[in-house]
């Protein structure tokens, strides 16, 4: 891609890039990929606790974006739409992972599978986890998702709500509970205090 083209795509909105791609400019799709591949991988890897699965979701998600270009509606919500695709792919992978893990004959996998939150710990235990990572692994998935989208991807509550297809007030509650759980799990005191 020529320098002039890089400058041009950097100045374009996500919607503009999608429309350019729809009209035949493959470089526009490459620019969108460059803009979001880190966020997609980071979210998928954190959701699935597995780098290989994160890479699969990365490819699947952008393939889905490419296939949807013809019918894409430019409404200024590309990021939320993309992350919704990623989230759905993660949910599919999680279901498949649960089925694989519960079918395994490894004793340690069966023992871990009996614990909460369940299958994700099998993957997490392959790394040395510090207190925060363990606490994150124990967060209920909706809390983890909401916190990932809000803290890592810096999405406002309303955008998180659009990705997760839940009311904004539910997002507030999920994020508040996620933070409270992490604080308590990492040795924090009671989060409601008296003076």
């Amino acid at each position: 891609m020529a320098v002039g083209e890089v400058v041009r795509t950097d100045a374009m909105t996500d919607d503009q890039l999608m429309l350019e791609f729809r009209d035949g400019d493959d470089g526009a799709f490459d620019a969108l990929f460059g803009r979001y591949y880190q966020s997609v991988y980071r979210f998928a890897r954190a959701m699935l606790a597995d780098g290989a699965a994160g890479e699969e979701v990365l490819q699947e998600s952008f393939l889905a974006v490419a296939r949807s270009a013809e019918s894409y509606q430019a409404r200024g919500t590309f990021r939320a739409w993309l992350m919704r695709i990623v989230r759905n792919r993660c949910l599919n992978h999680r279901q498949a992972m649960k089925a694989r893990i519960f079918g395994q004959e490894r004793v340690e996998a069966n023992q871990v599978a009996a614990q909460r939150p369940g299958p994700l710990l099998v993957l997490e235990q392959q790394e040395e986890l510090d207190g925060v990572r363990k606490a994150i692994a124990y967060l209920p998935p909706p809390q983890r998702e909401a916190l990932l989208l809000h803290v890592m991807e810096q999405m406002p509550y309303v955008e998180v709500a659009a990705v997760m297809d839940i009311p904004v007030n539910t997002v507030k509650t999920l994020i508040h509970r996620a933070r409270a759980n992490l604080i308590e799990a990492t040795g924090g005191k009671d989060t409601n205090h008296d003076m």
Partner: protein, 156 residues
């Protein structure tokens, strides 16, 4: 004395979800309340720890593989001459259930138990639908004009 400020309010402050007045009031309170100041700091700290724990960059090889897969996927492929029902649905912007309702009208054929449609036949069918819709509109307008003329004739 009880501080009624709860974690949820501090969480909203950190998220930038409070209005200007609420933000100002809460910030002033934090300056006077050591417990809330500690909690606010703990919130920021836990967010930072969260970021550090989950911020996993894409391995360079994984990024390269993904880019290659994307480039291969977006290469403009020749339009398939024979279409599946999924492709027909996408082409006509119809959901599977909507497509099922008009399936009998489509110029389809079956091969190995699967329904397929030739692209040129589908496009001809679309053109026929457009022409039929146009004729229907013309007939409808003509009928309306005749009725109005008849009613005006009776009236006079």
């Amino acid at each position: 004395m009880t501080c009624d400020i709860r974690l949820e309010q501090l969480s909203a402050l950190l998220a930038g979800e409070l209005d200007v007045t609420q933000t100002q009031v809460l910030r002033q309170h934090i300056e006077r309340c050591p417990a809330c100041a500690t909690l606010a700091a703990r919130l920021q700290d836990i967010d930072q720890q969260f970021r550090s724990a989950v911020d996993q960059p894409v391995p360079p090889e994984a990024a390269r593989r993904a880019r290659q897969a994307m480039h291969a996927a977006v290469q403009r492929q020749p339009t398939p001459e024979i279409m599946t029902l999924d492709e027909v649905g996408q082409c006509l912007r119809l959901t599977p259930s909507q497509l099922a309702q008009i399936l009998e009208q489509l110029p389809s054929f079956s091969v190995a138990g699967e329904v397929r449609i030739r692209r040129d036949r589908l496009m001809q069918w679309v053109k026929d639908q457009e022409q039929q819709a146009f004729r229907d509109r013309v007939r409808s307008q003509a009928a309306r004009s005749i009725r109005m003329a008849f009613e005006q004739g009776i009236a006079s």
